[in-house]
C-alpha cells in the first residue's frame, strides 16, 4: 500500500487504529482479570471510566473544531468542590439537584470564558486555556482548600447501583452521547464544526460563522466537563480541589488515541470514547499485572506516550520506504 492510499484509507476509517488497540487491550485485560465481562466487574470498571469518557467527548468537539482545552480538568475540579461543599452528606436531594444545575451552569460559563478569549479575542487556544486552568484551579482551591465534604448517600448509591436493563449506567451514557453526536453530526452545525476545524479560511469565505462555532465548542467542552465533574463526584462521594488535575492530559490523550488529529477537522467523538476506555483498561491491566506499585505511574505514562507516538512512527516508517 503506498502512502496516499494508506492516508486516505486511515482517514476514511479514523477509528480503525483505536478499535484495533481496544481489542488487543481487552484481550490482555482478560488475561489478567478473567471476570472482566461479568456484570459486577463490568459495572465497577465502567463506573470508573465514565468521567473520563464524558470529558474526552467534550475535548473531542473542541479539537475537531481546531482548538484545544487545557482547562477541562480544572472545570471538573470546580464542579466537584461545589457539589461536595454545598449540599453535604445529610443534604436534601432536592437541593442537590439544584446545586447540580448550578454546577453545570458554572461549567458552561467557564467554557464560555475560554471560548470568548479564543474565538473573539483570537488568542492561542493552548496558552489561553492553560491560563484559565490556573484561574479555575485557584477557584476550586478557594472553595475547598482541604479535601473533604460530601454528597448525600443516595446519589453515590444511585451511581454505584443503577444498572438499567442489567447494563452498567455508563453504557446508557455512552449510548446517549453517541446518539447525540450522531444527530449533531448530521445537523448544519455539525458540518460547520468539521469545516472550521478542517480549513477555517475556506469556511470563512463560504460565510460559515467561524467565531461562533469556535466559541460554542468551548461551551460544549465546559458543559461536558461539568457532567464529568458530577459523575466523578458521585463516584468518589467527596470533594478535592485536585480532582481534575490528572484528567486534562488523559482527555487529550483519549482523543488522540481515538484517531482525531490535533490539527482539527478529522475524527470524531466515538473515537474519543474508545480512547478513554483504552486508557482505563491500561490502568486496569497495570494494577492487575502485579507490577510493583512504584512502577505503575511510569508504566502507565510510558504506554500513553507510546500510543501517542505510534501514528507518527508508522508515518515515519512509511515515508522512509
Amino acid at each position: 500500500m503506498n502512502i496516499q492510499r494508506w492516508q486516505s484509507f486511515s482517514r476514511r476509517n479514523p477509528y480503525l487504529f483505536s478499535l484495533l488497540l481496544l481489542v488487543i487491550i481487552v484481550f490482555v485485560n482478560l488475561f489478567f482479570q478473567h471476570n472482566i465481562f461479568e456484570r459486577e466487574t463490568l459495572n465497577s470498571n465502567m463506573r470508573i471510566f465514565l468521567p473520563l469518557i464524558i470529558l474526552a467527548a467534550g475535548q473531542a468537539v473542541v479539537i475537531l473544531g481546531g482548538g484545544i482545552d487545557i482547562s477541562v480538568g480544572s472545570i471538573v475540579s470546580i464542579v466537584n468542590v461545589i457539589l461536595a461543599t454545598q449540599v453535604g452528606l445529610e443534604g436534601d436531594s432536592q437541593k442537590m439537584y439544584l446545586i447540580m444545575a448550578l454546577a453545570l451552569l458554572v461549567s458552561m460559563l467557564a467554557g464560555a470564558l475560554n471560548g470568548f478569549f479564543v474565538a473573539f479575542m483570537r488568542l492561542q487556544p493552548i496558552i489561553t486555556t492553560y491560563a484559565t486552568s490556573f484561574l479555575y484551579a485557584g477557584l476550586a482551591l478557594f472553595i475547598l482548600p482541604n479535601p473533604g465534604g460530601g454528597i448525600p448517600q443516595s446519589f453515590s448509591n444511585f451511581y454505584r447501583d443503577t444498572t438499567p436493563l442489567g447494563l452498567p449506567l455508563a453504557f446508557i451514557f455512552i449510548a446517549i452521547i453517541l446518539l447525540a453526536w450522531g444527530l449533531f453530526q448530521k445537523t448544519r452545525y455539525g458540518r460547520y464544526l468539521f469545516a472550521v476545524g478542517g480549513k477555517a479560511e475556506a469556511a470563512y469565505e463560504t460565510a460559515v460563522p467561524v467565531s461562533a462555532v469556535q466559541f460554542s465548542t468551548y461551551v460544549i467542552a465546559g458543559l461536558m466537563a461539568g457532567i464529568s465533574g458530577i459523575a466523578i463526584t458521585m463516584l468518589v462521594a467527596s470533594g478535592n480541589a485536585g480532582t481534575g488535575d490528572q484528567l486534562t492530559l488523559s482527555s487529550i490523550t483519549a482523543v488522540v488515541i481515538g484517531g482525531t488529529t490535533l490539527s482539527g477537522g478529522i475524527g470524531g467523538v466515538a473515537g474519543a470514547i474508545i480512547g478513554a476506555v483504552i486508557l482505563g483498561l491500561v490502568k486496569n491491566i497495570i494494577s492487575f499485572a502485579n507490577i510493583d506499585t512504584w512502577w505503575q505511574t511510569l508504566v502507565n505514562a510510558a504506554i500513553i506516550v507510546v500510543a501517542l507516538a505510534a501514528p507518527g512512527v508508522i508515518n515515519l516508517f512509511r515515508r522512509r520506504r
Partner: protein
C-alpha cells in the same frame, strides 16, 4: 433583480506592502467584465474586496449606486455576490456534496441535514459539467482525493449553487482542460443572458477576448485602462499590463547578456528526474548560462526547482559539477553552491518579523565564527545591500517594512553573500516594480558573465524571450519543448505552454 456594482479608488495595504493603490471597476447585470493584470497586480485582492473577504483601507464600493460596506463574506453573499476563489474555498476532508452546500444545507425535520437532497442537488449541478470529468467525481467522495481540475469544478459549482447575481471567476480556468473551459463558457453566456453580472479574472488573453464584453487592466494596484473588448487588440492590453518602461529594459539587457555561453562546460545535468508532479525531466545547463523555464503556472516548474535544491524527495540522476549528487536537504545543496529564490516571497523566502540583517545572513551565520563576529556580518550585509542598491532605513529594520522589489533584493542578497554557482529562480520578478526589474536583469547578466549558471522560471513570457537563449517549456510535469534561436518566438512559447508538441509546431 438586476445589479450593478462599482469599486471607486480602492486602496489596500498588507503590512506595509501596497496591494491596491487606486483600483476602479464597474460591472452591470448582463455583462462579462474582464479584470486583467500581471501576477501581483492586485486582481485577487480587488475581487476579495468585492466579495467581503478583505476590508478595503480607502475608497468605496457602490451597489446599485448606493455605498455598501461588507462586514463579512456573509453580507456579500446575502446581496447575491459569489466567488470562485483562485486558491479554492474547499475543506479538503469534507465530501464534494458537503462542500458545495456548506452553510446552506437543505434541512429536514429537526434540523437534520437532508443527505438525499444534498446528493441529488449536487448530482444535478455536476450535470452542468457532464462528460468532462472522470467517474470518480461523485457527491460523496472527499475533495482531497480529487485531481486539481475536478477540485476546480467543485469550486465553480459551489459558487454557482448560491444562484448569485454577481459571479466572480478568479482564475477559474487555470487548472481546467479545454473541454471543461468550453463548458464553463457556454454557462457564462447563458448566465449573461439571464441578467447576471460576471467578473472574469484571468491572464489568458484568448479566453478574455472570447468571453468578455469589457475590460479593466490593473498594474501595480492601479486601474490603468478600461474599455470595450471589441475596440481593443491583444497588444494594446499587454502594453497596458506591462507599461512602457519594462519593454525597453528587456531590450537593453538583451544585448548585454547574450554571450555565447553554450561553448562552456556543463554545470548541471539532470536525467529522468521524477517526483510527485514531475514525470521524468531531462535537462542540461552550461556554466554561465541563463536557461529559461516557461509554461503555464503550476506545470511542475516550482517542483523542479525545489527538487534540484534538495527540498523534495526524488528519483533520477542529478550531476552537478560533473559529479553525481543526491541532495537530501536544502542545506546540502547550499553547501555545494546551489541557491534558490523561491516563488512565494513572504512564505518561503523571508523571515517577515526579523531584521534585514538577519534575513541576509540567514544561510551564512555558521561562517562568522563563535562568538558571531557581528561587525563583520554587518559589513558583509551592508556591502551586498549597497551592491543591490537596497532602499532601506537600516540593516536592523524589520524586512516587513520593505516594498516588494526591495524585499526580493533581500532574498537574492542572502544568496549572493554565499557566491553560488547555480542559481534557481522561481518567478523572481513577480510583484516587483519595473525599475527593480531592470536592475535585476542587469544583475543576472553580471552573474552569468561571472560564470554562474541560472535556471530561471518566469510566468512572464516577455521576460523569457528577452533574457534567455534557451527556454524549456514545461507542461504537466514534463519538459515538452525546447525553444532556442530561431524557434524562440512568442507564438511558439504560447503554443508550447498550452501543451502543443514540438513536431506540431514545425
Amino acid at each position: 433583480m438586476s445589479l450593478s456594482l462599482s469599486a471607486r479608488n480602492v486602496v489596500k495595504r498588507y503590512a506595509g506592502v501596497v496591494a491596491l493603490s487606486d483600483a476602479n471597476l464597474d460591472v452591470n447585470a448582463g455583462e462579462v467584465v474582464a479584470l486583467i493584470g500581471a501576477n501581483g497586480s492586485g486582481k485577487s485582492t480587488l475581487s476579495k474586496i468585492i466579495n467581503g473577504v478583505v476590508v478595503l483601507d480607502r475608497g468605496q464600493l457602490l451597489l446599485n449606486g448606493q455605498p455598501v460596506n461588507f462586514s463579512s463574506p456573509q453580507a456579500a453573499k446575502n446581496l447575491g455576490i459569489s466567488t470562485v476563489f483562485q486558491d479554492l474555498s474547499l475543506v479538503p476532508h469534507m465530501t464534494v456534496a458537503e462542500n458545495v452546500w456548506l452553510a446552506r444545507e437543505p434541512l429536514q425535520w429537526g434540523g437534520i441535514v437532508d443527505q438525499k437532497q444534498i446528493r441529488e442537488k449536487t448530482d444535478a449541478l455536476l450535470g452542468l459539467f457532464a462528460g468532462t470529468y472522470k467517474d470518480s467525481l461523485r457527491p460523496e467522495v472527499t475533495v482531497a482525493s480529487l485531481p486539481s481540475d475536478e477540485k476546480q469544478i467543485v469550486e465553480i459549482l459551489k459558487a454557482v449553487s448560491f444562484e448569485p447575481q454577481l459571479l466572480i471567476l478568479d482564475e477559474a480556468t487555470a487548472s481546467l482542460d479545454s473541454r471543461q473551459v468550453e463548458r464553463l463558457f457556454e454557462m457564462v453566456v447563458r448566465w449573461k443572458q439571464d441578467g447576471k453580472a460576471i467578473i472574469f479574472v484571468s491572464h489568458r488573453m484568448e479566453e478574455i477576448f472570447r468571453i468578455a464584453d469589457r475590460y479593466y487592466v490593473l498594474r501595480n494596484g492601479k486601474t490603468v485602462g478600461s474599455g470595450e473588448m471589441k475596440q481593443v487588440k491583444t497588444k494594446d492590453i499587454v502594453a497596458l499590463m506591462v507599461g512602457d518602461e519594462s519593454a525597453e529594459s528587456v531590450v537593453e539587457r538583451k544585448k548585454s547578456v547574450r554571450q555565447n555561453s553554450l561553448s562552456q562546460k556543463i554545470q548541471l545535468e539532470v536525467t529522468d528526474l521524477s517526483t510527485d508532479g514531475l514525470r521524468g525531466v531531462n535537462l542540461s545547463l552550461h556554466a554561465g548560462e541563463l536557461l529559461g523555464i516557461g509554461g503555464l503556472k503550476g506545470q511542475g516548474q516550482r517542483t523542479l526547482l525545489h527538487t534540484l535544491f534538495g527540498a523534495l524527495d526524488h528519483t533520477g540522476e542529478v550531476k552537478f559539477d560533473g559529479a553525481l549528487v543526491r541532495f537530501k536537504s536544502p542545506r546540502q545543496a547550499m553547501n555545494k553552491g546551489v541557491a534558490l529564490v523561491p516563488g512565494e516571497r513572504a512564505k518561503e523566502g523571508l523571515l517577515f518579523i526579523r531584521s534585514i540583517l538577519e534575513n541576509l545572513l540567514l544561510p551564512s551565520w555558521g561562517d562568522y565564527g563563535f562568538p558571531t563576529r557581528i561587525q563583520k556580518a554587518q559589513h558583509s550585509a551592508a556591502e551586498v545591500s549597497t551592491s543591490l542598491s537596497l532602499k532601506m532605513a537600516g540593516l536592523n529594520e524589520p524586512v516587513s517594512g520593505l516594498s516588494g522589489g526591495n524585499a526580493q533584493k533581500v532574498v537574492i542578497g542572502k544568496w549572493l553573500l554565499r557566491k553560488p554557482r547555480l542559481l534557481l529562480l522561481d518567478d523572481p520578478t513577480k510583484g516587483v516594480d519595473v525599475g527593480t526589474k531592470a536592475e535585476f536583469y542587469r544583475l543576472l547578466a553580471k552573474l552569468c558573465a561571472d560564470g554562474v549558471s541560472v535556471l530561471f522560471y518566469s510566468s512572464d513570457d516577455e521576460e523569457l524571450l528577452g533574457l534567455c537563449d534557451r527556454v524549456l517549456v514545461m507542461h504537466d510535469g514534463l519538459i515538452r519543448t525546447e525553444l532556442a534561436g530561431e524557434s524562440l518566438t512568442k507564438s511558439n512559447l504560447v503554443a508550447a505552454s498550452l501543451g502543443a508538441s514540438q513536431e506540431s509546431m514545425q
